[in-house]
C-alpha cells in the first residue's frame, strides 16, 4: 500500500500543469487587484489592461514553450487522471486564445456599463483553466468536476448583468437545464461505475477511462451499459446544444451579455465537443453500434431544427445561437464519420477553430454595436444602412457571416469541405445529403443578414457615422485576415488525413 501511494505521489508533476495553474493564479491576482480599484472608468481600465496583458504573456510563453511537438508521446500525470498529449496542448492553446479574444471582445461591452470587471475577467480565466483540464482528463471524477466547474462559472457569467432581467432569466434557464443534464450525466457515470467496479472485471478504480474502455469492450452489449453510455452522451450534448437539449440556446444566448454569449458559443461548445470526442473514441470506442445511429439522429434533428428555426429569427443573438446549432450538427456528423476514418478528428478540431474565428468576428461587431443600447434587443433592423454608418464594421460582419455560412473564400468553407470529404469517404451518403442542404440553407439565412447590411441606402445627410476605436478595429481586422488568409496557415495536420 505504501509503495502504491509513493508511486502515485511521484506521478504528480505539477509543473506539467503550469498553464492551468498560471491561469488560476492570474484569476486570483485579478480578484485581489479588483479589491483595490474603485468602480470608476480609470480603475476598471487598469483591471482590463492587467487581464489582457497577463493572458497575452501566458499565451506567448506557452506557444514558445515547445510543448506542441508531434513526436512527444502522451504523458499521464497525477496517477493517470490527466493525459498530456500534443492534441491536448493544441487545445490548451486554443482555449487560451479564446479567453484572450473574449477579453478583448468584452471591452466595448464593459466600458459603458459600470459592472465589476475584475470578477468578470477572473471568472473568464478560471473557466478557461477548467476547460483546459476538461479536455485532458482521463478519469470520470475529474471529468465531471471540471465540467461542472465550467458550467458553474457560466451560471455566474450568464447572469452577470444583474440589473438586466434578460440576463437573470437566461442564467436561471441555463441553471435549471444544466442541472438536469448534469444529473443525467452523473446517472450515466454512476451506472457505469456500478456495473464495472467489481474485482471480476476491473482491478482497482472503475472510473478511469482506460478501465471503462476495457470493460465496455467485453460487456458493452449489456442493456444497462448501453443506457449508461446513452445517458452520458446525451448529458454532454447539452453543452453542445444538441437535440434534445437545444431549447436553452436561443434564450440564454439572447439574455447573456454579448461577450459571455461569444464565450458560450465558442469555448463552451468546443470544450463539450472535445470532451465528447475523447469519450467516444476512448472508453466508448466499443459502443459504436449503439452510438453511431444515436449520433446520426441527433445530428440530423439538430441540423433540421437549427435551419428551420434560424430562418425566421430577427434578434441577432438568438439567430447566432440557433445557427450555431447547425455547426454543432456538422461537428457531430464529423464524429459519426470519424468511426470509419480516425484521421478526421484533426479536421474536426480545425472546424472548431474556423467556427470560433467566424464567431469572434461576428460577436466582436455585435459587442460594439450593442455597447450603448440594450444588447439583448439587438435586432435585424439595427443593421440597416450599417454600410453607410460604418463601412469597416459592415465589411467585418460580412466576412464573419460569410465564414460561418461556409461561403468561399473563407476558412469556414474549407472546414465544411473537409467534413463533406470525410462523410463521402465513410459512405454516409444520407448524412452528406443533409449536410449539403444544411449548407445551402445556412447560406440563405446568413446572407439575409448581409442583405440587411448592404441593400438599404439612406440619404447621405441623415446617416450618422459610427467611429470605431483603432485598437478594436485592428483586432477585428486581424480576425478577418485569418479568415481569408487561411492558405498561409500551417495546416500540417492534413498530411496524415485522408490517405487513400
Amino acid at each position: 500500500m505504501h509503495a502504491v501511494f509513493t508511486s502515485l505521489a511521484y506521478s504528480n508533476h505539477w509543473v506539467l500543469l503550469w498553464p492551468e495553474l498560471s491561469f488560476v493564479v492570474l484569476g486570483l491576482l485579478l480578484l485581489v487587484l479588483g479589491c483595490f480599484q474603485k468602480v470608476t472608468h480609470s480603475g476598471l481600465c487598469i483591471v482590463s489592461a492587467f487581464a489582457l496583458l497577463g493572458q497575452l504573456a501566458l499565451v506567448l510563453a506557452f506557444s514558445m514553450g515547445g510543448f506542441l511537438q508531434e513526436a512527444l508521446p502522451a504523458v499521464p500525470n497525477f496517477a493517470g487522471l490527466v493525459l498530456h498529449s500534443p492534441t491536448g496542448d493544441t487545445l490548451r492553446l486554443f482555449f487560451m486564445l479564446t479567453s484572450l479574444a473574449i477579453s478583448v471582445l468584452a471591452l466595448p461591452y464593459l466600458k459603458n456599463r459600470l459592472l465589476a470587471r475584475a470578477e468578470f475577467y477572473s471568472l473568464l480565466v478560471f473557466v478557461s483553466a477548467g476547460l483546459m483540464l476538461l479536455v485532458q482528463s482521463q478519469h470520470c471524477i475529474l471529468f465531471f468536476v471540471t465540467l461542472e466547474f465550467v458550467t458553474l462559472g457560466f451560471y455566474i457569467l450568464i447572469s452577470y448583468a444583474s440589473s438586466d432581467v434578460f440576463s437573470l432569466e437566461a442564467g436561471l434557464k441555463y441553471l435549471i437545464l444544466g442541472a438536469f443534464t448534469s444529473c443525467l450525466l452523473l446517472l450515466g457515470i454512476a451506472l457505469l461505475y456500478g456495473l464495472a467496479t467489481t474485482p471480476a472485471f476491473i482491478q482497482g478504480d472503475g472510473l478511469y477511462f482506460a478501465d471503462l474502455g476495457q470493460f465496455l469492450q467485453n460487456y458493452g452489449s449489456h442493456p444497462m451499459a448501453q443506457l449508461a453510455v446513452v445517458c452520458i452522451v446525451l448529458g454532454l450534448g447539452f453543452k453542445l446544444g444538441a437535440f434534445p437539449f437545444q431549447l436553452w440556446v436561443p434564450d440564454v444566448y439572447q439574455g447573456a451579455p454579448t461577450p459571455v454569449t461569444a464565450f458560450l458559443a465558442t469555448a463552451s461548445k468546443a470544450g463539450g465537443f472535445v470532451a465528447l470526442m475523447n469519450l467516444l473514441f476512448g472508453p466508448f470506442a466499443a459502443m459504436a453500434c449503439t452510438l453511431k445511429p444515436l449520433l446520426s439522429w441527433v445530428a440530423i434533428l439538430t441540423l433540421t431544427l437549427a435551419s428551420i428555426t434560424a430562418l425566421t429569427q430577427r434578434n441577432m443573438k438568438r439567430f447566432l445561437g440557433l445557427s450555431g446549432l447547425s455547426h454543432t450538427a456538422y461537428l457531430i456528423l464529423g464524429l459519426v464519420a470519424a468511426y470509419d476514418l480516425p484521421e478526421i478528428k484533426t479536421a474536426l478540431l480545425f472546424y472548431l477553430f474556423a467556427y470560433s474565428i467566424g464567431s469572434f468576428l461576428v460577436f466582436g461587431c455585435l459587442s460594439y454595436l450593442g455597447k450603448n443600447t440594450e444588447d439583448n434587443l439587438l435586432a435585424l433592423e439595427g443593421l440597416d444602412t450599417l454600410h453607410q454608418r460604418s463601412p469597416f464594421l459592415s465589411a467585418m460582419l460580412t466576412v464573419g457571416l460569410g465564414s460561418l455560412a461556409g461561403a468561399p473564400p473563407f476558412i469556414g468553407f474549407v472546414a465544411k469541405f473537409f467534413i463533406f470529404i470525410a462523410l463521402f469517404k465513410a459512405k454516409l451518403y444520407t448524412l452528406l445529403i443533409f449536410g449539403i442542404f444544411g449548407a445551402v440553407l445556412s447560406i440563405y439565412y446568413y446572407f439575409t443578414w448581409i442583405r440587411k447590411l448592404y441593400f438599404s441606402t439612406a440619404p447621405q445627410d441623415t446617416v450618422e457615422k459610427l467611429s470605431l476605436c483603432r485598437g478594436y478595429g485592428a483586432y477585428l481586422l486581424l480576425l478577418a485576415l485569418l479568415t481569408v488568409l487561411w492558405i498561409c496557415l500551417p495546416l500540417s495536420f492534413s498530411t496524415s488525413m485522408f490517405q487513400p
Binding site: H387, P391, A395, T398, G402, A407, P408, P409, F413, V414, F417, F418, F420, I421, F424, K425, L432, I436, A439, V440, I443, Y444, F447, T448, I450, R451, Y454, F455, T457, W486, I487, C488, L489, P490, L491, S492, F493, S494, T495, S496, M497, F498, Q499, P500
Partner: protein, 510 residues
C-alpha cells in the same frame, strides 16, 4: 520578357484580386490613386492574357499544360496545391474573361451611374477569381476560385441592381450555391472513387489512365456533375434564376455572369468530365440531347415572347447554352471528339463576347431612353447611329452570321450533331431561325421606324456613344470580328489538344 511566363500567369490572377482588396479600403487612399489602380486592375490582366495567348503557340505542343506552376499551401495532405497552368481548353476562356472584365470595368469606371470604388473593387475580385478558376489545374481551386464571386455578386446586385434586386440577389445566391454544392459532391466523388491522393488534374489523369474508374462510379459522378454544373449553366429546367438575375444586375455584373461565370460549368464538364468520366457522361447523352433541345426550342419560344430587351438577352443566353450541351452530348462519337468539343469551346468564347456586348449595349440604351421595353422605343438610330451600328453587329453575331466567331462554333456543333442524328440537327438549326426572328425584331423596334414613346420623350437629350462607351464596345466587337474572320487562331487549339491533353481515359465507343 524578364518575367517568366508562369509567373506572369500567376501575377495576372493575383493582381485583380490584390487591387480589388485594396480598393475595398478606398476611403484610406487618395481618389486619383484608387482610380489609377482600378484602371490598372482591369487592363493589365487583359494585356497579360493576350501576351500569354500569343506566346502559347510557341509552346511545346506535347505539354498538356503550358505556363505551369505550383504553389504549396497548407493542406498538402489532401493533395491540394495551388497549381496554375493553361491548356488549349482554358486559354480561350482565360482571354474571354480578361476581355469581358476589361470592357465591363472600363464602362463602369467612366459612367457616372456606378462610379464607386467599392463596385470596382468587388468586380475586380470577381474577375481575379474567375481568371484563377480557368487557369487552375487543381480541381479544388478551380471550384474555390469560381465561388469567390458569390459574396461580391450578392453585394453588387443588392446595392447597384435594378428593380426587384433584393429578391433576385438572394435567389441567385441560393440557387447557384445549391448547384455549386452538388458539383462539389461530384468532385469529391471523383476524388474518393479514383483513390488518387491528389486533386490535381494531371495527377488524376495519370492515375486514371492506369486504373480507370468503373462505369457505375463514372455514372454517379457524371450525374452529380451534370446536375450541379447544369444548374450553374442554366440547363433546362434549372434556368429560372437566370432571367431575373441578369436583368436586375448592373451592367458589368451581368456581363461577367452571363458571359463568363456561366461558362465555368461547361469548362469544368469538358476539362474534368470528358477527360475522366466519358463513359459516365455517355450514359446521359440522350437526356443531355433532349434537355439541350429543350433549351434551344422551348426557351427560344419564350425569348420570342419577351417585350423587354434585357429579358430577351437573358433568355437568349440560356437558349445558346442549348447548343453547347448538344455539342457536349455528341462527344462520345468516334472521330468527332475534337470537332464537338472544339465547337463548344468556340461557341463559348463567341457567346461570352456576344452576350457581354448585348448587356453592355442594353445598359447604354437604358441610360438614354430610361427604359428597355422594346415596343415603347423606336427610331433611335436617328440620334445614335454608332450605337445602332454596334447593336446590329452584336445581334448578327449572336444569330451566328459568318464573319463573327459564333458562326464557327455553331457550325462545328451542327456538324457533330448531324453525325449523331440528322433530325436533332434539323431541330437545333431551327434555333438559328428563332434567334434571327427575335434579334432582327429587336433591332427594328428599338432603332428603326419613327421615333415614339420613350425615344420621343428623351429625343433631344439623347447623344451618341461617348468615348469610353466606344472603347468598351469595340474591345468585344473587334474580338468577335477578328476571330470570326481569322478562325485559324482558334482552330489551332482543338488540334493541339487532340494530340495531348484530351485523351479520355476510356473510349465511349459502344
Amino acid at each position: 520578357m524578364c518575367l517568366s511566363l508562369d509567373k506572369l500567369l500567376a501575377l495576372s490572377i493575383a493582381l485583380p484580386l490584390a487591387i480589388g482588396s485594396i480598393l475595398l479600403f478606398h476611403r484610406f487612399i487618395p481618389s486619383t490613386l484608387s482610380k489609377t489602380l482600378a484602371i490598372l486592375g482591369f487592363t493589365l490582366p487583359l494585356g497579360a492574357a493576350l501576351y500569354l495567348a500569343w506566346q502559347y503557340q510557341a509552346q511545346d505542343a506535347f505539354l498538356t499544360y503550358a505556363f505551369y506552376s505550383t504553389y504549396p499551401i497548407g493542406i498538402e495532405g489532401l493533395g491540394i496545391r495551388l497549381s496554375l497552368g493553361l491548356n488549349a481548353i482554358a486559354l480561350p476562356l482565360f482571354v474571354l474573361t480578361a476581355l469581358v472584365g476589361c470592357s465591363g470595368g472600363i464602362y463602369t469606371l467612366f459612367s457616372k451611374q456606378t462610379d464607386s470604388r467599392l463596385f470596382e473593387g468587388l468586380l475586380l475580385i470577381i474577375i481575379g477569381g474567375i481568371l484563377g478558376a480557368f487557369a487552375s489545374v487543381d480541381i479544388f481551386f478551380m471550384y474555390f476560385l469560381h465561388e469567390i464571386a458569390l459574396i461580391p455578386t450578392f453585394i453588387l446586385m443588392g446595392i447597384w441592381g435594378f428593380g426587384g434586386r433584393r429578391g433576385a440577389a438572394i435567389e441567385l445566391t441560393v440557387y447557384l450555391s445549391l448547384g455549386a454544392f452538388i458539383a462539389l459532391v461530384g468532385f469529391i466523388a471523383l476524388y474518393v472513387f479514383s483513390h488518387c491522393p491528389s486533386f490535381n488534374i494531371i495527377d488524376l489523369g495519370l492515375h486514371l489512365q492506369a486504373l480507370p474508374l468503373k462505369t457505375s462510379d463514372q455514372t454517379l459522378i457524371a450525374g452529380l456533375l451534370l446536375l450541379g454544373l447544369g444548374i450553374l449553366v442554366s440547363l433546362f429546367p434549372f434556368y429560372s434564376w437566370a432571367p431575373r438575375a441578369y436583368t436586375t444586375a448592373p451592367a458589368a455584373l451581368a456581363m461577367m455572369h452571363a458571359g463568363v461565370l456561366k461558362k465555368f460549368g461547361l469548362y469544368a464538364l469538358i476539362q474534368v468530365g470528358l477527360r475522366f468520366i466519358p463513359l459516365g457522361l455517355a450514359v446521359y447523352t440522350p437526356y443531355l440531347v433532349g434537355l439541350g433541345l429543350a433549351n434551344i426550342l422551348f426557351i427560344g419560344f419564350v425569348t420570342l415572347a419577351q417585350r423587354d430587351f434585357k429579358f430577351m438577352a437573358a433568355y437568349s443566353s440560356i437558349m445558346h447554352m442549348g447548343y453547347c450541351f448538344l455539342g457536349l452530348a455528341c462527344f462520345g462519337l468516334p472521330g468527332l471528339q475534337e470537332l464537338a468539343v472544339g465547337g463548344v469551346l468556340i461557341l463559348m468564347l463567341g457567346h461570352g463576347l456576344t452576350v457581354g456586348l448585348l448587356f453592355l449595349l442594353a445598359d447604354m440604351i437604358l441610360y438614354r431612353t430610361h427604359t428597355t421595353d422594346m415596343p415603347s422605343m423606336g427610331g433611335l438610330c436617328q440620334k445614335t447611329p454608332v450605337l445602332s451600328a454596334f447593336f446590329v453587329a452584336a445581334i448578327f453575331a449572336s444569330i451566328g452570321l459568318p464573319g463573327f466567331v459564333n458562326f464557327w462554333g455553331e457550325f462545328t456543333i451542327f456538324l457533330a450533331v448531324w453525325a449523331y442524328n440528322p433530325y436533332i440537327c434539323a431541330l437545333a438549326a431551327l434555333g438559328i431561325i428563332i434567334s434571327a426572328i427575335y434579334g432582327l425584331r429587336s433591332i427594328a423596334s428599338i432603332f428603326f421606324g419613327p421615333a415614339k414613346g420613350a425615344s420621343l420623350e428623351h429625343f433631344h437629350t439623347i447623344q451618341d456613344l461617348r468615348c469610353f462607351e466606344r472603347v468598351a464596345t469595340l474591345l468585344l466587337l473587334v474580338a468577335l470580328l477578328l476571330l470570326g474572320c481569322f478562325p485559324k487562331m482558334l482552330f489551332h487549339f482543338p488540334s493541339t489538344f487532340h494530340n495531348t491533353s484530351l485523351k479520355p481515359s476510356a473510349s465511349s465507343l459502344p
